[in-house]
């Protein structure tokens, strides 16, 4: 059965399983070889698979993604590591104008199954540009899939589903959760991907939200780093007699709005929690969908708890920039005030 792994260890194990399953899987990135990546997510893979499959690249993010596209056109499945969230922007053009559109602009003739792994979000006391949450910039771009695991099991499963997917995937890894431990069972994803339609089935499953905690009174929608926060807030709220449901979106593109709408209809109250700035963010999209599809079930406006419309601050202030239990509970109080 399963073993206990950290999220980083689970993604590492998932990468290893994908590389063993398919010799076309290549890893590309800065310092991912002998060093094993700055977060050690590729630890040991260079030693076991060699420099041809675990490629240290020049320090040029656009170049990494651009050459990965070319390799994908020849049938390879490159898994690119962007070292930190804030350094993805040199590759933004390649991702949004080339990677996202190549399949469509070729009339379906070209597949570019590139996975771009991005350690993201804050809370680790890092210096500037190392704590950002740019995920919705990519969720806003047709042609890309965007997902983010919150647990070791999902880290293990979803990285393999992302690699098997025929579409490009932006895979956001909540770096503050890298060392959280959990049970990981390898059977389910292995069985799934061994099926003839496994890559498509895995792609579809990757887009499904997960109910992390069932509840009846209020829906807390979270993903990646804020899932644990939502669960902690739910435990505190329970002491006040509020039974919160926590939805782990897992995917931002596609967004499993059915799961959110269904929960909203049940609870009538929705709070969305993410680290990215709330303005034009995932919370705005979710709020809009809930308003469109569950308006008459709502007892209160949908509220958002997230980052401010200000540059990510120095680490001594990030505890007040990021969503925290007090701000989540404050939002829960406010949806109850109606």
């Amino acid at each position: 059965m399963g073993e206990t792994l950290t999220l980083a260890g689970a993604i590492n194990a998932g990468l290893r399983a994908a590389m063993e399953r398919d010799p076309k899987v290549l890893l590309m990135g800065e310092d991912i070889g002998a060093l094993g990546g700055v977060f050690r997510v590729t630890d040991g893979l260079h030693k076991d698979f060699g420099g041809d499959r675990v490629m240290d690249t020049p320090l040029a993010e656009s170049g990494i993604v651009g050459t990965a596209i070319g390799l994908a056109m020849r049938g390879y499945r490159p898994v690119v590591e962007i070292q930190f969230d804030g350094f993805i922007f040199p590759a933004y053009d390649q991702i949004t104008t080339s990677l996202a559109k190549m399949h469509a602009r070729s009339g379906g003739a070209i597949h570019v199954p590139v996975v771009v792994r991005v350690p993201y979000a804050g809370g680790i006391g890092a210096i500037e540009h190392h704590s950002e949450s740019p995920e919705v910039l990519f969720a806003h771009t047709p042609g890309l899939r965007v997902c983010t695991p919150a647990t070791p099991q999902d880290g293990f499963d979803m990285i393999q589903q992302a690699i098997a997917s025929p579409d490009p995937v932006l895979f956001f890894e909540p770096k503050a959760r890298y060392w959280d431990k959990g049970e990981v069972s390898p059977e389910r994803v292995a069985a799934q991907l061994s099926q003839p339609d496994g890559p498509v089935a895995g792609t579809l499953e990757m887009g499904k939200a997960r109910i992390a905690r069932e509840g009846a009174d209020v829906t807390l929608v979270a993903y990646g780093p804020t899932v644990r926060l939502a669960l902690q807030a739910a435990e505190v709220a329970a002491k006040d007699g509020v039974d919160a449901e926590v939805i782990d979106l897992r995917s931002l593109s596609p967004l499993d709005s059915d799961a959110v709408v269904e929960s909203a209809k049940k609870t009538g109250r929705v709070v969305v929690i993410h680290e990215a700035p709330t303005t034009y963010g995932a919370g705005a999209e979710i709020s809009s969908r809930v308003a469109e599809q569950a308006f008459f079930h709502l007892r209160a406006p949908v509220l958002r708890v997230g980052g401010f419309h200000a540059p990510y601050p120095g680490s001594k202030y990030e505890h007040d920039y990021l969503p925290n239990i007090d701000r989540v509970l404050d939002a829960v109080d406010r949806v109850y005030a109606h």
Partner: protein, 373 residues
């Protein structure tokens, strides 16, 4: 010309002078030595048909049949010479003006006008021609070309010694693109991974209105030298020299020796696109100077000098050009857009819930109008 830097003609490899006189080059002459008069007539035909198509597409745009046209006028020698040097296993990544290369790779030219009529973004299957889609994002494809070449190397399609197997990537871009980060990254990646790429830069002297001197202080081929690859400047209006240099460069890359930078010095005789107005930024005198260096008339002069261009062949090519133009016109005018629901096709390779929901909504919405009639 007393031009400097990227506009100078210093060190250009040349086998035909601008008056059509055949001259020798110590290193590159052997790489054109196998060309027969029939091959040269083939170049003449390819250049002429490309121009006939180009002229017809220009007219179609002026008649409102195309939203935009991008002329290749004046760059036929660089494109046909380099395109002819490619063999079947080679793969080309064009920018968006490489109609002559498209012709060499067997793309049916009228089909490409689907792009400029607003019907498709890609109008041919790249793997059927080893000719990638046009890329409008300046320089972005140079990285795709490099990655593709890295893949060919991994797949054992380089340096095997088997000419039917060994290939290289021919990557086209312009003088403006050399200022792009992506192009410079492609030069870096291709050298450190020893990828079989020929970077074929057509320096047509203008990036829309900006002269090449706004992109670089030095000749563009210096970019390649800076990262440690062989770099050559060739007269891009000389089809023989363009062929010879490309032939050498492709052999070098196919052999596993690594990438090459070729700067083909040429002149964009037309506008950047049909939306451009070159009278605002260049002189009639410049245009007249380059009209005397027209790549097709240069080859014609040479072929006539060696008595290898019979009048009936010229007439035949002219008729072929007229046929191509007529077929182009008829093809374009017959195209009608299909149902708009096609915009959802191929957004993703696997079903995507948002796309499916929006497609279903759009179909219901469209259907509601039909029912109302």
């Amino acid at each position: 010309m007393d031009a400097v830097g990227p506009l100078s003609d210093d060190g250009l490899v040349r086998l035909l002078t601008h008056t059509g006189e055949r001259v020798e080059h110590d290193f590159f002459s052997p790489y054109a030595a196998a060309l027969t008069p029939e091959d040269l007539r083939g170049f003449y035909r390819a250049m002429s048909l490309t121009r006939a198509f180009d002229n017809e597409a220009m007219s179609l745009q002026r008649q409102g049949e195309l939203g935009l046209w991008v002329q290749s006028l004046g760059q036929e020698a660089a494109q046909i010479g380099s395109g002819a040097a490619m063999r079947d296993p080679d793969f080309a990544f064009p920018s968006y003006r490489e109609h002559g290369v498209a012709f060499q790779r067997g793309v049916d030219l009228p089909e490409m006008l689907q792009i400029f009529r607003g019907l498709k973004h890609g109008a041919w299957e790249p793997s059927a021609h080893n000719f990638h889609l046009y890329t409008l994002v300046i320089g972005a494809h140079t990285l795709h070309a490099t990655g593709y070449a890295m893949g060919m190397d991994r797949d054992g399609l380089v340096a095997s010694g088997d000419p039917a197997r060994d290939g290289a990537v021919m990557c086209y871009f312009g003088d403006g693109a050399t200022a792009q980060g992506d192009v410079n990254e492609a030069l870096v990646f291709s050298t450190v991974y020893n990828a079989p790429v020929v970077f074929f830069c057509q320096n047509n002297q203008f990036a829309i209105s900006e002269p090449a001197t706004r992109q670089s202080k030095v000749p563009l081929a210096e970019r390649g030298k800076g990262v440690g690859m062989p770099s050559i400047r060739v007269d891009g209006n000389d089809v023989l020299a363009s062929y010879a240099v490309s032939n050498w460069a492709l052999q070098y890359a196919r052999s596993g020796a690594g990438p090459v930078f070729v700067e083909a010095f040429t002149y964009r005789m037309g506008a950047h696109t049909t939306s451009d107005d070159p009278t605002r930024y260049r002189s009639k005198a410049d245009e007249a100077y380059w009209a005397e260096r027209d790549p097709i008339s240069r080859l014609v002069t040479h072929l006539r000098a060696i008595d290898e261009l019979p009048d009936d062949f010229v007439a035949e090519v002219e008729n072929e050009g007229k046929d191509l133009a007529r077929r182009t016109r008829e093809t374009v005018r017959a195209w009608e857009p299909g149902p708009s629901v096609g915009i959802f096709e191929n957004a993703y390779a696997a079903p995507h819930a948002t796309v499916e929901a929006e497609r279903a909504w759009f179909e219901r919405f469209e259907g509601s109008f039909v029912e109302a009639h």
